[in-house]
Symmetry: C2
Subunit: 314 residues, 2 copies
């Protein structure tokens, strides 16, 4: 299989940030495109006639089974928690993410799905990294329950391939940003910061602004997801990021500079779930997926600001 056109796809979590962008990119390129999720953050964005929107809750196994039926490729983008919220209720995090994914994998096995592509978390599975940029074979010591859940799901995916031949690919995505990322629900600092700047409200930062993350423009993540659906090599887990890092302070400065708006910043207590620095080594994905991030950071940031200015107001 070397092109997307024969794929019968379902995107789980299609109403969210990554899912919306993925669906908009896949539509017209694949044989079938189902979009499954609890709600659409931007219904207009998924209104294309070839996107089959199926409303449903990830924890509802029968809805899920019906949605997956007939598909060969499953993009699993659902996350029911955030790193910070996961530490507050670890049991909910386990149930909503891991237990529900076990139901999904049984459904995929029973329905002879060919491949599951899972978005894991490049920013949390490694914990406090002992090597930066961090390659895939680094120690895995999450400091939030969210990272532990993602890891457990990774291991179950490997188990289902071992036991039943259900193929999988895992993308450990860093911090994606871009259009359709909302400023609410703690989805991403860039969209939240842009929202504050555009609305002349003070930015609130956890910690002193020195936290460094690997930000990647959403189009590059979508490219990686598409490559992962066609990949034929023996590798299973790929870091997907820009390969370089920026501090929160740099992000704030860049946004302010783009629109010449000087925004006051308030510094709050650091959070226990935040690692100081996260930058991914993306060599493996470049080589094995023939993928690389194409977007320049400032171009991506500019498009994201423009999208919030013109297309969307929270």
């Amino acid at each position: 299989m070397n092109d997307l056109s024969s794929l019968r796809c379902i995107v789980l979590g299609a109403g969210g940030f990554v899912g919306t962008n993925l669906c908009r990119s896949l539509v017209g390129q694949v044989d079938t495109l189902r979009a499954f999720g609890r709600r659409q953050s931007f219904p207009e964005a998924l209104s294309h006639k070839d996107i089959d929107w199926i409303p449903g809750d990830f924890s509802d196994s029968s809805a899920l089974a019906s949605a997956v039926s007939g598909c060969d490729t499953v993009y699993h983008l659902i996350t029911s928690t955030t790193p910070a919220s996961s530490n507050v209720d670890k049991l909910y995090d386990l149930q909503a993410n891991v237990a529900s994914t076990l139901h999904l994998l049984d459904i995929c096995k029973d329905q002879n799905v060919r491949r599951v592509i899972f978005v894991s978390s490049g920013g949390t599975v490694y914990g406090i990294p002992n090597q930066i940029p961090t390659p895939e074979n680094s120690p895995l010591n999450p400091i939030c329950a969210y990272g532990i859940s993602k890891l457990a799901i990774e291991k179950y995916l490997a188990l289902y391939e071992h036991l039943y031949g259900l193929e999988y690919r895992i993308l450990r995505v860093s911090n994606p940003f871009g259009p359709f990322q909302t400023a609410i629900r703690s989805q991403g600092v860039i969209s939240a910061f842009i929202h504050k700047v555009l609305n002349n409200r003070p930015i609130e930062v956890w910690g002193d602004g020195s936290i460094v993350r690997d930000y990647i423009y959403i189009d590059d993540v979508v490219d990686a997801l598409k490559s992962a659906s066609l990949h034929n090599g023996s590798e299973r887990i790929f870091n997907i990021g820009s390969g370089s890092g920026k501090s929160l302070t740099e992000i704030i400065d860049a946004i302010s500079h783009l629109r010449s708006i000087d925004t006051p910043t308030r510094y709050l207590d650091a959070r226990a779930s935040d690692v100081p620095t996260s930058i991914l080594d993306i060599s493996l994905a470049k080589e094995a997926l023939s993928w690389q991030p194409k977007s320049n950071f400032l171009d991506g940031l500019n498009k994201t600001v423009a999208w919030q200015e013109h297309d969307f107001n929270v």
Copy 2:
């Protein structure tokens, strides 16, 4: 803290094989000894007046909270599944082991428990090892849900120490054998094989008998558990095994030879949950815990056979 005498201990899973042996060894050496479990396989074995038996189910949080109250040291030996059964119902395995342990860790945090000592699985967390003997820092790719659950619990233990200062030590124990291991409930091949030999019934082997495991006599496991309660170094995870391997065929031959009984063997299909070879590298435990296995394999086997002959008939 360098001796056991001040410890206020609770053994979770005290009615089982490892728990029974641990309680019998700890009694008289520690300040307080509570024994928690659903049932006692051998009530006589735990009848000492200084063993406070508390019947309860691990999934019953309030019973657990009441049992843990006032203890500083928690030995977590509970496993509700086996490697083979875990693959049949992965969701049950997750709920019974991981979710229940999250409840336990919240209880330990709330009650200011000093340390949790957890028995993990040296035979399953590594999956099919790429290095034999296998050291602790090897890749972790379980081929059974049981191993994934153990791994997830290991990660949660690290998280609770990071977030709340709850200390932990993890023993990745290989295949323990000895008195109080029952021949039923798939607890261990050695006790099962001994039972067949002593009762002149054919032995059933999954696969062709070539599967190699690292068998360790229970007294050596108990020693390691006691060392782990006092350990002050920075290490957290220790392989506990004999450091060498024996095939199923060798085990059968050794038992038959001990009692000069020739036992017919039936070979069944291999199980997907079984790795071909598992032998642990125990260098770290030797160095950091000042521990080493003291029992000679044949001596341990002889004691186990004698125990089944004289003290116990299933």
